[in-house]
Amino acid sequence: MYRVVTVDIEKCTGCRSCEIACSLHNFGECNPARARIHVVKTQKEAVTTTIPILCRQCADPLCMKMCPAEALSRNEETGAVVVAKEKCLGCHTCVYVCPFGAPAVDPVTGVCEKCTLCDGDPHCVKVCSKEALTFGDEVEESMHRKRAGLEKYLEHLATVTET
């Protein structure tokens, strides 16, 4: 079973530590504009929501299917969808088809840059003190979410009973 980076948007405070760490580890410079993870901020009236957007390592990735150069493949060891840079045309097809807008063509290297899970040791997770990003087993993570859902339900139930 592969390990995945999961996002809890309720915990994210939008500090962008993940962006800086990603760019430092993967490009050797501190530059959020080149990072493979981006914290997108939206403001609806009073409520600001921040969501870290990164490659979901889809089970059936559109980017892999659509890449005309067949530059994308799955790393069997980490489960990450990775780019063979020598094959990549920099044509942006993956950028267009990804439902999340996760990959990007890097202005410096001219090829697709996307999350590789740092070869199984993602740095964005390491600097996320709120644990909005976690790296774990897919099945366990899913069970964890279910449990969190139950807690919320119980909390709600308590409020309803009180009033």
């Binding site: 962008r16 760490a21 410079e29 530059n31 080149r34 600001t48 709120k130």
Partner: protein, 721 residues
């Protein structure tokens, strides 16, 4: 290729519309960065007789070498100019997201010169610098201004610093805002920006900060992360935020109606702890914070009928008197100040001064244009604050500061109720800068207020101090054993830092100068590096200068030690002091309000015990000057001290002005600096370290030609309108 620094200082002349860049290296080889380079720029560019709100003043916004990197708390921006509040050093430090963005755009500092003829905002997009029309932004509050600029530029990733109506109206306490709650609030930096006819500074950068050894930097940053997240205070800090300060101040009784006046603030009520929790549970939306910060010390609230507001400790520590006990009311004043772009601390101070004058029978509502100002009544306080912000009626006078207000009131009130003295005597101020809500009767606080740069205590001390920390022994619910343990810990720490056995004892002055000095130099290091001082040990969390120096070493590719950072911090304070002395600051200006001398603390654990006498303060000042290598008679740094820190040009300048003091006892002077450099919590000795490498600092780049490549701004690839 310069490492860690973006490499360029951007100068914008608003009078002519011209922009130019300068290599950061011209300063960075001698000064660490951020606040230090700001001070050097202000020293070089602002003359002694400059009008703070005149076009010849500059506003310098600077980011340090760790700004925008993976180092935790990389968000800090230091803003410096001559202050319209004090006519001395104006300096304020803010978090948020703007500072890092400026570095990604390729600049370490932005220096604004002159005055624009029309209202403009500055738009910096990497190499492109533009002055854009801001006429339609005038009158907008800080939040709406930011949104309007994002809409106009059609780019949600742009970061905007703006002033509100207070800055436009040149209210002396106007501030700079980014987001909702990030502000460079103190010393009137918003009025300086307003005086330049600049409404906002927008920046977007997509360039990287180059580092010498990325893996080593990542490792150093992760170590700092681990230290911070492993701190004892981290849990409370990242869940309760800075509001816990209020609880500790409240318990200690050192809070004093926001400004030292003894308003009707009751003794600490443990139920207030619960009040915070309730307020957060009921109205809190989420935690928030600054760029690259693992702590998130701020929270966002939504209160029906008031709206949403984000804040750190403002609501709890700065709002007037009783308002703090009624958060639902207090938040109205906080929100007003944030949106209008005015320093809430100063506003609170003004309001309480007026309330005290009213209690004394000096003034009545007629002196306030009929506003029925009352303790705990947020509506009347908001009404009067609005008058100040919009310069309506008597607010027009108050907007020029406490001294102007006092002169106005003196001319219109009977001398009897004020004991024949000026109303100014009752103002809680240092060099006309309104004080925080921390009691100066506690000895170390008195010293910190008196000698603090920019005439307040937070800059040099950040409020937390060991004789105050010993109050932690009063934490509610603690057993006697726990109290004893906490008091022992504080005493031991104070002894360690100062070398004085009784340093944690608030009845004596022993070791207080060393403690204030130690705090000041630690804060200085963070301000120069561009990181948050609250992450540092003794300032709540457990990262140390060694973490910073490891990160800087990895970034610049040469060994920079914690000692080097301390050397830089001593240099910084010497430079700032020289700058203030050139503008007229002397020993006699380092004081607290006269009326506070010999007064006992009126409540809390210090009640009836702690007070500061004039003699106490003067003795502590003597010791502090000795540690700093300054002349005791005048408070001006000795030429030898300036030269020790590579500030030869400053020494020459002060000599030219005829104010450079002569040092009669070189051995004594050296002994002071030696003590200042050796004690404290991480410092090995600095012996033989004066002026290392001539005027070149340890972190200076090796190859002089390395970053000499000219980068054109205002040239072919720049647009200026």
């Amino acid at each position: 290729m310069p490492f860690l620094n973006a490499g360029r200082i951007l100068h914008v002349d608003l009078t002519t519309g011209e922009t130019r860049t300068q290599a950061t290296k011209e300063y960075a080889d001698r000064y660490l960065g951020g606040r230090a380079i700001n001070a050097a720029l202000v020293y070089d560019l602002v003359g002694p007789d400059t009008d703070a709100l005149g076009p010849e003043n500059i506003l310098s916004l600077g980011v340090g070498p760790l700004g925008g990197t993976s180092y935790p708390g990389c968000s800090r921006l230091d803003v410096m100019a001559k202050s319209p509040v004090t006519n001395l050093l104006g300096d304020s430090n803010m978090g948020g997201y703007w500072a890092a963005e400026l570095k990604y755009a390729g600049y370490d500092h932005l220096v604004l010169h002159g005055r624009s003829e029309k209202p403009v905002y500055v738009w910096i997009h990497n190499d492109k610098v533009e002055l854009r029309d801001a006429a339609r932004l005038l009158g907008k509050n800080t939040v709406d201004t930011q949104q309007a600029i994002l809409d106009e530029l059609d780019n949600p990733n742009v970061k905007v610093i703006s002033i509100g109506p207070a800055g436009e109206n040149l209210v002396t306490w106007a501030d700079l805002h980014q987001g909702t709650c990030h502000a460079a609030a103190r010393t009137g930096m918003g009025a300086v920006l307003g005086s330049k006819n600049v409404k906002a500074l927008a920046v977007r950068g997509t360039q990287g900060i180059k580092v010498a050894d990325p893996d080593a930097l990542m490792t150093a940053c992760l170590e700092a992360h681990t230290a911070i997240r492993g701190s004892e205070m981290f849990g409370e800090y990242s869940t309760v935020g800075t509001s816990w300060c209020e609880a500790s101040y409240g318990r200690s009784g050192i809070e004093c109606g926001g400004d030292g006046h003894e308003g009707p603030i009751p003794d600490w009520d443990p139920h207030r702890d619960q009040a915070f929790d309730q307020f957060w549970t009921e109205y809190g939306i989420k935690r928030t914070g600054c760029m690259g910060c693992p702590v998130h010390c701020m929270e966002t609230y939504f209160v029906p009928g008031v709206g949403s507001a984000s804040m750190s400790c403002e609501l709890y520590t700065q709002t007037t008197g009783e308002l703090r006990q009624d958060l639902l009311r207090g938040i109205k004043l906080v929100k007003l100040c944030q949106e209008m772009g005015i320093d809430e601390t100063s506003v609170s101070n003004l309001l309480q001064w007026l309330l005290v004058l009213k209690d004394m029978g000096v003034i009545d509502d007629s002196h306030l244009d009929g506003v029925p100002l009352a303790w705990g009544d947020v509506d009347s306080q908001v009404e009067l604050t609005k008058k100040v912000i919009f310069r309506e009626g008597v607010g027009d006078v108050f907007a020029d500061g406490l001294l102007a207000a006092a002169q106005h009131l003196d001319a219109r009130t009977a001398p009897g109720p004020r004991g024949g003295a000026s109303t100014y005597v009752y103002a809680m101020q240092v060099n006309n800068n309104p004080m925080y809500g921390i009691n100066p009767r506690v000895k170390s606080m008195a010293l910190a207020y008196a000698v603090g740069r920019r005439s307040d205590c937070i800059s040099d001390l950040n409020m937390q101090d060991f004789d105050i920390m010993s109050v932690s022994a009063e934490y509610p619910g603690w057993t006697d054993e726990q109290r004893h343990e906490a008091a022992e810990f504080d005493a031991e720490t104070a002894r360690y830092v100062s070398g004085e056995p009784r340093a944690a004892d608030f009845d004596v002055i022993d070791g207080k100068a060393m403690i204030v000095h130690d705090m000041g130099r630690t804060v200085g290091m963070a301000d120069m590096a561009g990181t948050c001082k609250q992450h540092l040990k003794w300032l709540y969390l457990d990262s140390t200068p060694a973490h910073m120096s490891a990160a800087i070493s990895a970034g610049v590719g040469k060994t920079v030690t914690a000692d080097d950072l301390m050397w830089a911090s001593l240099q910084l304070r010497t430079l700032e002091r020289a700058l203030e002395c050139r503008w007229g600051r002397r020993r006699e200006h380092d004081t607290i309000p006269e009326k506070e001398f010999d007064k006992l603390v009126s409540q809390g654990v210090f009640k009836g015990r702690s007070y500061t006498s004039r003699e106490d303060l003067e003795a502590m000042k003597d010791e502090y000057y000795w540690l700093r290598g300054w002349d005791k008679a005048t408070g001006i740094p000795y030429g030898e001290t300036l030269r020790d820190f590579g500030l030869d040009h400053v020494a020459d300048d002060l000599a030219r002005l005829g104010i450079l003091p002569a040092c009669a006892d070189e051995q004594q002077r050296r002994a002071g600096i030696a003590k200042a450099s050796t004690l404290g919590y991480v410092w090995p000795e600095l012996v033989g370290r004066d002026n290392p490498g001539g005027n070149k600092a340890p972190w200076a780049a090796d190859e002089p030609e390395a970053d000499a490549q000219p980068v054109a701004v205002g040239g072919a690839d720049a647009e200026t309108s």
